[in-house]
C-alpha cells in the first residue's frame, strides 16, 4: 500500500521544515492591555514586580484581618499551612518547611499571595497590601527588620535563607 509511505514522507517534510510543524495560523493577536492584565508573573530577579509599597506594621494589621483565621497568629499555622519559623531545621530529624525556612525566592511569596490568597477571596488585595504582607511575614523570622518597608527594588533584593538549597533536576529525561 502506498498510503503509509505517503504519510511518512509528509511527516518527514514537516520535521525537516522546522522542529515544530506548521499550523493553520488562526491565532488572534491580543491587545497590549489584554496582555498587561494577564501577565502577573514575577521572575525570581524581580522583573514584573509592580509599583507600590507596604511596611511591616501595615502587614500585621492586614494579616490579622485577612489571614490569621486560617494561618494562625504570627504565621504559626492551623488550620492552614504554617508560614513562619523552622529556620535551620531542614537537615534535622524534624524538618519544618515554611515560607521563611524553605522558599528560595521572596518574589514567589509576592506572586502567590497576590494571585491565590486569601484563599476565600483571591486577587482581592492591592499591590501595596501584598508588599506589606510580605514585609510582615519575612520580618517574623528576622529576614527583614521589624520596621522594614518593601517595594519592587527592596523585595527583589531580599535573600531568602534557603536560596541555595535546591538541586535542579529539570534536564533529566
Amino acid at each position: 500500500m502506498s498510503t503509509p509511505r505517503l504519510c511518512t514522507a509528509a511527516l518527514l517534510l514537516l520535521c525537516l521544515g522546522s522542529a515544530w510543524a506548521a499550523g493553520p495560523g488562526l491565532g488572534r493577536v491580543p491587545s497590549a492591555e489584554e496582555l498587561a492584565e494577564l501577565d502577573l508573573s514575577i521572575a525570581p530577579d524581580g522583573r514584573g514586580l509592580p509599583p507600590g509599597s507596604g511596611d511591616v506594621a501595615q502587614g500585621l494589621a492586614l494579616y490579622q484581618a485577612r489571614c490569621e483565621a486560617c494561618h494562625g497568629a504570627g504565621g504559626q499555622g492551623k488550620p492552614a499551612d504554617r508560614l513562619s519559623g523552622g529556620l535551620g531545621s531542614l537537615a534535622s530529624d524534624k524538618p519544618v518547611k515554611t515560607v521563611n525556612s524553605y522558599w528560595p525566592y521572596a518574589t514567589t511569596l509576592f506572586d502567590y499571595i497576590r494571585r491565590a490568597m486569601p484563599l476565600n477571596a483571591p486577587r482581592s488585595l492591592t499591590d501595596s497590601e501584598v508588599y506589606s504582607l510580605c514585609a510582615y511575614l519575612l520580618a517574623l523570622d528576622g529576614i527583614l527588620a521589624a520596621d522594614a518597608r518593601l517595594d519592587a527594588a527592596s523585595l527583589a533584593a531580599v535573600r531568602m535563607p534557603n536560596r541555595d538549597g535546591f538541586i535542579d533536576r529539570s534536564q533529566e529525561r
Binding site: 488562526l26 501577565d39 508573573s41 531542614l90 524553605y102 535542579d168 529539570s170 533529566e172 529525561r173
Partner: protein, 399 residues
Amino acid sequence: MGLQAGALAAGLGGAPAQAASGFPWQQVPGAPVRLTGEPSPFAPPLRRTLLQGYGAIAPGTGSSWTPLEQLRGTITPAYLHFERHHNGVPAIDPAHFNLVIHGLVNRPLAFDLETLHRYPMVTRQGFIECAGNSLPNSFPEPQAKPCGLIHGLISCSEWTGVPLGLLLEEAGVQAGAQWMLAEGADAASMSRSIPLYPRGDDMLLALYQNGEPLRPEQGYPWRLFLPGYEGNMNVKWLRRLKLSAGPTHTRDETSRYTDLLRDGRAEQFTFVMGVKSVITRPSGGMRLAARGFYELSGLAWSGSGRIACVEVSADGGASWTEAALQSPAQDRSFTLFSIPWHWDGSPARLQSRATDEQGNTQPTRAQWTQRYAPGQRYHYNAIQTWALDAGGNLSNVYA
C-alpha cells in the same frame, strides 16, 4: 413467511400448557433506548474517595482518589479520574475564554475554542499521576487503606488535542526561550514552569478525554497533557503560556512538589514520574474466601517510557517470578500484568516490581525512605507489599 405463519397458527391453536422457559428478562420487553447510559443498579457502585485536608475552610483544596482495585483495564472512565485541585473547580464558559501565548515569542497569540477546533488534533493514551500519589506509604506506620486510597492519584485516559508545538510555532518561539510558565484560570491561578526541552515535542493541549469533551474537573475547555510528567504540571483550565528564559519558581514548584533530602538540600523540578506498579487484585481490605487458584493482577507504569517487565513475589521479595504483560505496553501509559497463583492457605507477602525500558526499577520502601528527609511525600514509587494472613485477609504492610 409461510413457515412463520404456520408456526404462529400452531402456537395459538395448540395446548397453552408450557410457556417457553427462560430468565424473567427474556419474558418481557426491556427498557427503551435512552440518551445517556448509566451503570447497572446491580453492579457495586463505583465512587472515588475524597480527601479534604483543610476541612471546611477550604473544601476545594483536596483530592479524589480513583478506586483502582474496582476497575480493570487501561482506561479510567472520566467520571472516576482522580482529581487534585488547589482551590476548587471553575465553571468556565468558553465563550469568554482564551488561551494566550506570550513572552519570548515573535507575536503573542490568543486562541478560543472555535479556533482551536480548526487545528489538527492527535490522540494518545497516557496516565496522569499526582506527584503525591502513594504518599500514605511514606508515613512511618502502614495505613490500613485499600489500594485506591494509597495509589489512586493516578488515572489513565485517551487524550485528544492540538499538539502544543503547532501553536508555539505560530507564535514564533524566540531563541532565548527555554521555559514556559503555564497558568490555570482557577482560583489558585495554578502556575508551573515547564522546560521546552528535552521532551517538548510530546506536549498536547488536550480538549477531549476518552472521546468526550473534557469535564470541568479535568480542565474544560482544555488542559495541558505532558506525558509522564508529574500531574500538577498538566495545568487545567489553561489560561496562558508565557515563554521565558528560565523557570519562574512559582509556589507549586518550590514550596510544593520538591523533595527534601537527608542533608537538608531539596530536589527541584523532578518532573518525570518514576516507574511503579501495584497489585490491584487481590489487594488491601480484600479477602480470599478459600485456598486454591487466584490470578494476581495489577497495573504498572513509568514516566520514562514503556514497561519492560513486571516481577511478582509471594514471599516478600525473597524470590521473584515474571508476570505476563497483558496489553502491548504503551509508552507512559497503564500496562496490565497478571500471573496465575495457587494459594496454599499459609500467610504470604505479595509484591510487584516493575522495570521500564530505560532500565529503571522500583526501589524497596527502605531504599526510598533512606533517600529522603523524614516527612517527605512526593514521588513515592517504592514496592507495595500486601500481607495475606492465614484467614485470607489482605492488608497494607511494610516489607
